[in-house]
């Protein structure tokens, strides 16, 4: 999973893809996930961090993470 290198995320959750000119809003957990992808963290580690930080069960977190990944792909934010 690699976020396109030019994609920028601001602290306020505003995401801009200069390649397509598209902009997006991202909620805080989404921001954390994108930053983790940018740091090339493996998915298993990202999932663990979510489970540590939030009150959520593993299945839900994993399903949502996969869905989020699909959306990033859909919006062409991933190479």
């Amino acid at each position: 999973m690699k976020i396109r290198k030019n994609v920028a995320v601001s602290d306020s959750g505003f995401l801009f893809n200069p390649l397509t000119g598209d902009s997006f809003s991202v909620n805080p957990i989404g921001q954390t996930i994108i930053s983790s992808f940018k740091e090339n963290k493996p998915e298993s580690e990202i999932l663990e961090n979510i489970l540590e930080e939030y009150r959520v069960d593993k299945n839900t977190a994993e399903k949502d993470l996969n869905d989020f990944k699909r959306m990033l792909e859909n919006y062409k934010l991933i190479d």
Binding site: G30, Y54, R55
Partner: protein
């Protein structure tokens, strides 16, 4: 530490609601950079309009095509189809990637030689080869793909005169279930013409028949047609083996794979409608592999793929001259390039993107070129954001046939830039000058002067 309340990750586009009639938004995202280089910087440095080729994309395309075929078939050789784009820089990227040359005229042949392609790796196609052309190719040991009987007979005579046995293939045309059938080139399969030509060649002993060639059409949307064609050429090759105990060295499947453009009149965007190279490869390679060749007699597979390897590596950058409202209320925008340099506008509804940010509102627009001619239409109907004079646009998928078919008509042809794999632009062709265009003109002395 107390855990936080969970909320699922959400990403929401801020500029939604920009659906076009095809239901995709990609056409309406600005194209601000090509291979990391700003479109505006390219235009400022090299002028407008400007062709831009991506070296990286060309390499990706040919490497990927090679991988696709080589994982399915053991002996594959690509030959770059010069007519598709014969700027030397473009050809040499292909040659560096291992492609031979495929030419259809002495002009292209000499270009390939000058680029350094060994003559025995230049496939000489086409119906128009003069005696001198044939003699040069024979002397150089280039594979000659015979198009018609006159050429066949002439080659037999030349072989006699020169005491050289030329290496030849015949071009075969055939019914692959596709209409229109390209039956004006080569010898027909179904009516026995191809087999007659083969018998003729084998009977003379003056020509060395090494290959069988076909090019069943261009922008072929039906991969199965290639399966049919490959089966028919394989059948000929096996028959030659059976009848004359002669092993054919190669089967050349020509070009014709579709690029990502959208054909005029098509309801689907080209990017969605055209087959992947895998589909053509699967058809061709499984036909040959299943034809019944002995393992050590499998022919080489030659491919002369043109547009599918270079179209999406080329961009045309231009500028808005003006906007007008047509009498029927439609908006029209006049650009600084027209069908003179964008010949493929006659075939395709080209994808055109603004090169700067824009608002979410779009309007049905006609895009015109600058020529004072009614035919000069770049896009008949496209939904575009409002463009202002001086704004820039990028036309996508223009790497095939535009540079080679562009016309010097009314204005001078623009420069071409290639962005290298490190993101550095190189000028690979200067824009034309008045001197270039007049270089071959001669003025009779009595027309030197006039008074008005």
């Amino acid at each position: 530490m107390e855990k936080k309340t969970y909320e699922r990750p959400i990403i929401k586009p801020l500029n939604s609601g920009l659906m076009n009639k095809f239901g995709t938004r990609t056409e309406y995202t600005p194209k601000t950079h090509i291979d990391g280089v700003k479109v505006k910087d390219l235009l400022a440095e090299f002028g407008s309009p400007l062709f831009v080729m991506s070296e990286d994309k060309i390499r990706q395309n040919i490497q990927s095509a090679q991988r696709i075929f080589e994982t399915r078939y053991p002996k594959v050789q690509f030959a770059w189809s010069y007519k598709t784009n014969y700027l030397n820089a473009v050809c040499n990227v292909f040659h560096q990637e291992g492609s031979w040359g495929e030419v259809v005229s002495m002009f292209e042949y000499n270009k390939a030689l000058k680029n350094g392609v060994p003559a025995d790796k230049i496939l000489f196609n086409g119906p128009d080869k003069t005696d001198d052309d044939l003699k040069t190719a024979v002397k150089n040991d280039s594979p000659i793909h015979i198009d018609h009987l006159d050429e066949l007979y002439r080659l037999i005579e030349i072989s006699d005169e020169m005491h050289i046995k030329p290496r030849v293939a015949i071009r075969v045309n055939m019914d692959t279930g596709i209409y229109p059938m390209w039956d004006r080139f080569g010898f027909n399969y179904e009516n026995g013409e191809a087999w007659d030509a083969i018998n003729k060649i084998m009977a003379t002993d003056k020509l060395n028949l090494i290959g069988l060639h076909c090019h069943i059409g261009t922008f072929m949307l039906t991969p199965s047609a290639y399966g049919v064609a490959a089966s028919k050429l394989s059948a000929l090759a096996l028959n030659i083996k059976k009848r004359y105990d002669k092993v054919i060295t190669y089967i050349d499947m020509g070009g014709g794979f579709a690029s990502k453009n959208t054909l005029k009149g098509s309801y689907q965007l080209g990017t969605d409608a055209v087959p992947d190279i895998e589909e053509y490869a699967e058809q061709i390679t499984s036909s040959i592999l299943n034809a019944g060749f002995e393992t050590d007699e499998l022919p080489y597979l030659y491919l002369e793929t043109g547009r599918a390897l270079v179209d999406d590596a080329g961009f045309l950058l231009g500028s808005v001259i003006s906007n007008k409202r047509l009498s029927d209320g439609r908006r029209s925008t006049i650009l600084d390039f027209g069908v003179n340099i964008l010949f493929t506008a006659f075939w395709y509804d080209h994808k055109i993107s603004p090169a700067q940010e824009f608002s979410q509102y779009t309007e049905d627009t006609v895009l015109y070129g600058p020529l004072c001619m009614n035919i000069d239409v770049v896009r008949e109907n496209v939904s575009m954001p409002p463009l202002n004079a001086g704004d820039n646009v990028v036309v996508h998928y223009v790497g095939a046939y535009n540079i080679t078919q562009s016309m010097q008509f009314i204005s001078l042809r623009p420069a071409v830039v290639m962005i290298d794999t490190k993101g550095k632009p190189h000028k690979i062709k200067s824009s034309e000058t008045l001197e270039d265009v007049e270089k071959n003109e001669l003025l009779p002395t009595h027309l030197n002067k006039f008074e008005l």
